[in-house]
Amino acid sequence: MNELDLKAMGITAINQKLYKLPKDTNERHWVIKNPMGQHSIACGLDAALQVDIKGHVGFYCGGMNKHAEITIHGHAGVGTAENMMSGVVWVKGNSSESAGATGNGGLLVIEGDASSRCGISMKGIDIVVGGNVGHMSAFMAQRGNLVVCGDAGEALGDSIYEARLYVRGKADNLGSDCIEKDMRSEHLEDLAKLLERAKLKHKPESFRRYGSARKLYNFNVDHADAY
């Protein structure tokens, strides 16, 4: 295990250090101390590292991540794991808005609540939230899975394309073109795998599935009222 003190080194030095490690490095486990809510911690990683951040982080932590497994032992600020490509970002606390925004791949787990716009414009990322998500989550979501073990806030899945949304609690207010859909066996299997990866014990059958009615993303004069 290698320890990096953010207070002593500064954010740029830490990110460069982790980024420049060879992909086949044997020094795989890194601990970042004193994050002090700073922004862009462990961004742009491109190797199969295990990074533990010991405390609360600011904006964009784990952004653009490839391959690395990043654990935030605290609260995560705005845009956590934004545009993640692969790997895992795991938040032990709550998360501020826009978690997993535009994520292309990988897994984002938030043990607590996520705030508004969780999974906005997601493009293939899998997001599992242990608690609630705020308003306008999965806004314009294109691909991937958003699993919410608690309730979803207003306008869930507004203008959604092809992502799959699973909500265990209430989702009373769906956004434009977002509808409830049947939970088929393949969905239950996918959901079971995601819950297992997030170490959650909920039964897949206790969730409901939401997705796109597909009325908005091709212009159709018959649907003009819905635009």
Partner: protein, 300 residues
């Protein structure tokens, strides 16, 4: 941009350290607002029959000495002044309206930036660190404090356009965001008799709150009505005699984070401002929800 910070002490033993605890919080928000900074600190409550005014003048060498004696003589009351930077704290037994009218006539360059029993408001252009030391706030004792670092987007960088804006006795407002209907609203409020010193959007929000409160609304009621009448993006932090309140617009894209321990409650635009507080690592941290009014300390 702009940065908002607030600290409310639940543990009275920390009160002697209020200014010291708050200093790194407001300085951390410098790059969100390097144009100007301001704080409202709640300390040294005056007697029931007294009012405390925070006065400001653009000229740092302004002669305040004739203010207290002038008020005493003209309004037949007791008055004391204490100059702090280019601000002055006036404590008097005179009626508030009479003091404001007298100042307007005899000291037209003096602005009343706050009034009440405990509130003191200090604000100035420049970096937050410089503003903070100018008003000697590092050693300040008190119960709670709110602050603002400004990156001006809507109007000029002036002391008058700096936050906090007073909204009534012991009340003030700081704002991160921008209002889109402030020109129309300003005209409406002028017709209701409200006066304005700047073209600033936040001053309109403050005047709106003042007007609502004067007409008998509770603070909670004024904030709820504000959600309907103020159009734009905002996170508001409102300082009250006993604590503070936080409210965000329905879209809630102007950042805000709250943290609470057994000793304190803190609110900031970004968590890094709160990270400096003792016990922050173990605090309960969350993002306030839109259109929800959060309050600490006393009834709102």
């Amino acid at each position: 941009m702009c940065g908002i910070v607030g600290l409310y002490l639940k543990n009275p033993k920390l009160q002697p350290k209020l200014g010291e605890m708050f200093k790194p919080m407001i300085i951390e928000m410098t790059n969100r607002g390097p144009d100007s900074a301001g704080v409202a600190i709640y300390r040294n409550p005056v007697k029931k029959n007294q009012t405390k005014f925070s006065l400001a003048h653009d000229d740092a060498s302004y002669n305040w000495k004739t203010v207290d004696t002038g008020i005493e003589k003209a309004l037949k009351c007791d008055a004391t002044i204490k100059q702090i930077g280019n601000h002055c704290i006036l404590v008097t037994t005179a009626k508030e309206d009479a003091v404001v009218a007298w100042l307007k006539k005899h000291h037209p360059g003096v602005r009343v930036v706050g009034s009440g029993h405990t509130i003191e408001i200090f604000k100035e252009t420049g970096l937050p660190e410089n503003v903070y030391s100018k008003f000697d706030l590092s050693k300040a004792k008190g119960t709670h404090i709110i602050g603002h670092t400004r990156m001006a987007t809507e109007s000029a960088v002036t002391t008058a356009g700096s936050h906090p804006f007073a909204t009534g006795a012991d009340l003030c407002l700081v704002h991160n965001g921008s209002l889109s209907n402030h020109n129309r609203l300003r005209e409406n409020l002028k017709r209701e008799g409200m006066e304005f010193q700047t073209e600033n959007d936040t001053e309109v929000a403050a005047a709106y709150m003042t007007w609502k409160l004067r007409n008998g609304s509770t603070l909670k009621g004024a904030l709820e009505d504000g959600l309907k009448d103020l159009d734009g993006f905002y996170t508001f932090l409102v300082g009250t005699a006993d604590g503070f309140a936080v409210v965000r617009d329905p879209i809630a894209c102007k950042h805000a984070v709250m943290a609470e321990t057994d000793d304190w409650v803190a609110m900031a635009t970004e968590y890094r401002a709160i990270a400096h507080l003792p016990g922050a690592d173990d605090a309960k941290i969350w993002e306030p929800e839109p259109t929800t009014i959060y309050t600490w300390g006393g009834n709102v």
